[in-house]
């Protein structure tokens, strides 16, 4: 029986700015995100909306010196990540949370064999295991065991392969193996199937689903595809221009989307049942250098009301498990 | 959102039309250049050298000393308030001569680059675009031959064959210099020609001329300009090496290398005769190198 009640990660009102020529890029403007133990959460948004920035903030791997966090907190198991010491952060990154990147070719080091790379991950997160894994044999056994878990054929031979000898799907499986070695509690998968063929992407998604179920790990799945989020998640957050505009379970979100952006996005997705696609959403992303002072979607929104340009709307619960950040729905 | 008034719109745009993308982005380019403070130091040094070279006859304290002038009584004076860098053994003010020598140095650098860069770039473009054909092989092997001869020796041989004048020294340095640009542009052109926009231009039916000059060349310009800025310092050095050995600007017109060689005999007692010309050479190379770094930062295509 899985406990889905304890909150594992809670991002509150996160603001992140990047320093550039001409001022600050105010990318994140109050992001709220919550993940419970064992839960599968999807973060859906288009390019440039700030999803990768949010994830990098959790692990504190933003480019040093160039960013600034004026407000916000990221609570992991009750502790604020933004105030953690270096040692605590290291512990977080090596044992608690792991990230699976979008492009597996870039995520693997081409000059080392797979065995070395997985071995390194196990070594550096070894304190979480009961036995002492500083012996080569134990590391090797554990590597093979993990590679079997991600359905890689012939794991012993895989250990001595280089990454360029593997196909895209296999590389992504290796990355997933490396992630589950070190992550006990939370996986962050940044568009894990996008650079792969669609049949391989399907296999990878099913694999992730299985692993997450079996190990009771929570997962944040970042994607630009609502369809992928629908098949893989328990709750979806829709993000636009650095803010969360709507969040709900997939059933509710697809049956009753409320925010104009969500509605526009859903209408733009082509369906295999035909019927054509809408004309997209007029306009484009606002400038982060001089963002609108109110709701960031307001310049592209068809409906309007004076308060929309005054201050950004907060997330508001319109029904159970369904929150929206829009003034027009709060009446 | 739609513009209903077509003619007015076009006129308005014509008035605001920027001459080229570089000047359009001047402010942003300056920002990129000035991120590194040392680049600004370089720019200041270079500006100083250029201004003093242009206005030399009017700003130096002893303009007669750059011509035939002799005053043995004030010879061999160490640096003082009247002679900032001291005097040489025949009494000429070293400060004035050093400033004046910048002229010859800069003229040589400008002329050498003006003569060497266009053919070098042109050959590199053709060889790079026609990579893996016999034209490529011929051009690059000739380039290799010139690159394999040490520049000083090649320049010496040529300058020694011809009469020792500034002009011939420039010819000698030019011949040593063009192959570096060919090799630089060859590498860039052979990779740019595989870019999709070049393929697209080819498929649309553009002539080879257009592709070389309008598609490929503009994408090779950044490293060319950066290298030119850096090269000015090194050409000055090569010119000074030649004049050190007596080939180049002939006395009594001052040249940095000649002054160095004159003063070398009197080291270390009359140290100021060699040290200041040497420092001037160092300053030139340092200034152009630092400025060159800034130019590279400015022209690099980073995140927009």
């Amino acid at each position: 029986m899985k406990t889905k009640e304890n909150i594992l990660l809670n991002i509150k009102d996160l603001h992140v700015w990047y320093r550039v020529y001409g001022g600050f890029l105010k990318v994140l403007n109050g992001v709220h995100l919550m993940v419970r133990e064992g839960e599968r959460v999807g973060l859906v948004g288009e390019a440039g909306c700030g999803k990768t920035t949010t994830m990098k903030s959790i692990l504190q791997i933003l480019p040093p010196g160039d960013f600034h966090i004026p407000r916000g907190q990221i609570f992991y198991k009750g502790q604020d990540v933004l105030k953690m010491s270096f040692k605590e952060l290291q512990r977080l990154r090596s044992r608690e949370i792991a990230m699976i990147f979008q492009d597996p070719t870039a995520a693997l080091n081409p000059v080392f064999i797979i065995g070395t790379q997985i071995g390194d991950v196990i070594k550096y997160s070894s304190a979480v295991l009961e036995e002492n894994v500083h012996q080569q044999e134990k590391i090797k056994m554990l590597s093979i065991k993990t590679l079997k878990e991600v359905s890689l054929p012939d794991p012993e031979r895989m250990l001595i392969n280089y990454s360029f000898q593997l196909s895209g799907g296999m590389k992504q499986r290796v990355c997933i193996a490396m992630a589950i070695c070190s992550a006990r509690n939370l996986l962050i998968a940044d568009e894990p199937g996008t650079s792969l063929d669609v049949t391989i992407q399907d296999q990878i998604m099913r694999l992730l689903n299985e692993l997450v179920e079996k190990r009771n790990t929570a997962i944040i799945l970042i994607t630009h595809s609502l369809a992928v989020a629908r098949e893989m998640t328990d709750r979806i957050y829709v993000m636009y221009a650095g803010t969360i505009v709507e969040t709900a379970t997939p059933e509710i979100l697809f049956k009753n989307p409320v925010h104009p952006y969500t509605k526009g996005l859903l209408a733009s997705v082509p369906k295999i049942s035909g019927g054509g696609i809408s004309n997209g959403i007029p306009g484009k992303l606002p400038s982060y250098l001089n963002p609108p002072s109110g709701c960031r979607f307001q310049p592209r929104c068809e409906q309007e009301s004076p308060i929309c340009s005054e201050k950004p709307p907060q997330l508001f619960e319109i029904e159970k498990n369904h929150l929206v950040a829009c003034y027009l729905t709060q009446r | 959102m739609r513009n209903s008034n077509k003619p007015n719109n076009l006129i308005a745009i014509s008035l605001v039309r920027p001459k080229s993308i570089f000047w359009f982005n001047l402010e942003k380019n300056w920002y990129k250049f000035s991120r590194n403070r040392l680049s600004i130091v370089g720019l200041v040094i270079v500006a100083g050298i250029i201004i003093s070279a242009i206005f030399a006859p009017w700003i130096i304290p002893y303009p007669e000393h750059v011509g035939p002038f002799v005053d043995f009584e004030s010879g061999a004076q160490p640096p003082s308030l009247q002679h900032l860098f001291g005097t040489d053994i025949i009494g000429r003010d070293i400060f004035s001569r050093v400033i004046f020598a910048f002229r010859g140095a800069l003229i040589m650098a400008v002329v050498v680059l003006a003569l060497a860069v266009p053919p070098g770039v042109f050959l590199g473009l053709i060889a790079g675009y026609l990579q893996n054909t016999w034209i490529d092989t011929v051009i690059m092997r000739i380039t290799d031959v010139f690159l394999s001869i040490p520049p000083l020796i090649l320049a010496l041989a040529i300058a020694a064959m011809l009469k020792p004048t500034l002009m011939n020294a420039m010819i000698a340095v030019t011949i040593s210099w063009w192959p570096w640009y060919t090799r630089l542009v060859y590498g860039m052109a052979s990779s740019v020609r595989n870019e999709y926009f070049v393929i697209a231009a080819n498929l649309i039916g553009a002539s080879k001329f257009h592709i070389l000059l309008r598609e490929i060349l503009p994408n090779c310009l950044s490293p060319i300009f950066t290298k030119m800025a850096l090269d000015i310092g090194w050409v000055i050095l090569l010119g000074a090496s030649l004049s050190f050995l007596g080939l180049g600007e002939q006395p009594p017109i001052p040249a940095l290398g000649t002054m160095l060689s004159d003063g070398a005999k009197f080291m270390p007692t009359l140290w100021w005769m060699s040290v200041f010309p040497a420092l001037a050479i160092v300053l030139c190379i340092l200034g152009f190198n630092l400025m060159g770094d800034g130019i590279r930062d400015m022209l690099e295509k980073g995140r927009e």
Binding site: E46, A47, S167, G168, M170, D197, V198, T199, I200, Q201, D202, Q203, M205, H224, S225, L226, A227, R230, F254, L265, L266, S268, V269, P270, K271, I272, S273, G274, G276, I277, N279, G280, I281, K284, L285 | N3, K6, N9, L10, I13, R17, P18, I21, F24, E195, Y196, F197, I199, A200, A201, L203, I204, G205, A206, R214, E215, P218, N219, L221, K301
Partner: protein, 338 residues
């Protein structure tokens, strides 16, 4: 016996494109990117070409437009032989066939302004005098819904969707008859994609164009193409009209592909074949399996599949499939007609 009918604008017959990549003891090694492909496109239609990596779809596009020379086979455009490299083609044939590439970032020269980029096809293919160029370019920009401000911008300053619009305007400029779109929206967001696709469909009607639309996105294909052809490792597996393709997919690879597509409505979910989930890896085009190239991953594999490569069979008019499962049908048809 089929002849080139007046209705067909492009006819590809037995097209092969092999790339020579080296040698081993047995002889030269080839990548058989395109291995015997027959395709045709009718006037005004959009033919969709679907496939995953290694399928050869981009190679076909590049060969048709003239980037590659075919190893063998014929490409007939409007009845004339066009199967050669672009440098050897006539100017009119270069004008008639245009291409829009996948990556908008690298298909536009960032060191030019958009005005210069769009002036090039006008200069080469039209008789418009130079002083009217600007007007014509503004007209082109308006067709793709970009304001005249874009004239002086460099491509590096505009977004991906707008860059792709400029690429489309460039393709439209010489007034072509056939445009090849190689995954034009794969690098773009779904809302931007929607805008561009609708614009492409409008322009097709307005200018009476034919499209060869290449993508790996099946749900996009369903809404864009009139007919769909699916490729695997250099050969065509199935060709059918859009609706038929999804309602009655015959080839096992087609079924596998459709079942892998992520969907957002229940209605679509019901459309997906249930038994054909994806297994196995796509083999490298250097090591194509003997017999039917798909047999290693096929759930309906028979003994003949590992030995003999199947022929293209006509299941019904406008629906052809290359699979041994349907060979009996062909035999039965032949028996009846004898």
């Amino acid at each position: 016996m089929k002849q080139t009918t007046n209705n067909e604008i492009l006819k590809i017959e037995k097209l092969k494109k092999y790339f020579h990549i080296g040698k081993d003891k047995k002889g030269p090694i080839y990548v058989r990117a395109v291995d015997g492909v027959d395709l045709n496109i009718k006037h005004g239609e959009t033919l969709g070409l679907v496939g995953e990596s290694g399928s050869g779809k981009s190679t076909i596009a590049y060969t048709v437009v003239g980037m590659y020379r075919p190893t063998s086979g014929q490409i007939m455009f409007k009845g004339k032989n066009t199967g050669m490299e672009a440098s050897r083609r006539s100017l009119s044939s270069k004008k008639e066939i245009q291409i829009v590439f996948q990556d908008p970032g690298s298909s536009l020269n960032t060191r030019q302004t958009i005005e210069q980029i769009l002036a090039l096809p006008l200069r080469i293919h039209t008789q418009i005098p130079k002083r009217q160029f600007r007007e014509k370019i503004v007209e082109l920009l308006e067709k793709v819904e970009l304001s005249p401000n874009y004239l002086y911008k460099s491509p590096s300053l505009i977004g991906g969707g707008e860059k792709q619009m400029v690429a489309i305007a460039r393709a439209m400029a010489p007034n072509p008859s056939l445009i090849i779109l190689d995954e034009p929206t794969s690098a773009l967001d779904v809302s931007v994609q929607a805008k561009i696709i609708n614009k492409l469909i409008d322009l097709q009607k307005e200018m009476n164009l034919s499209y060869l639309f290449i993508t790996h996105d099946l749900s996009l294909m369903r809404n864009v193409a009139n007919r769909i052809a699916i490729m695997y490792l250099g050969k065509i597996c199935e060709v059918a009209e859009s609706a038929t393709f999804f309602e009655k997919p015959l080839h096992p690879y087609t079924q596998m592909l459709i079942s892998s597509v992520p969907v957002i409505t229940e209605e679509e979910k019901k459309l997906k074949p249930k038994k054909a989930i994806s297994i196995g890896e796509i083999p490298s085009p250097v090591n194509i399996p003997l017999g039917c190239s798909f047999h290693l991953r096929c759930p309906y594999k028979m003994s003949i599949c590992s030995k003999v490569d199947p022929e293209m069979i006509e299941f019904s008019p406008e629906h052809i499939v290359r699979c041994h499962l349907f060979a009996k049908l062909e035999n039965k048809k032949q028996e009846r007609s004898d």
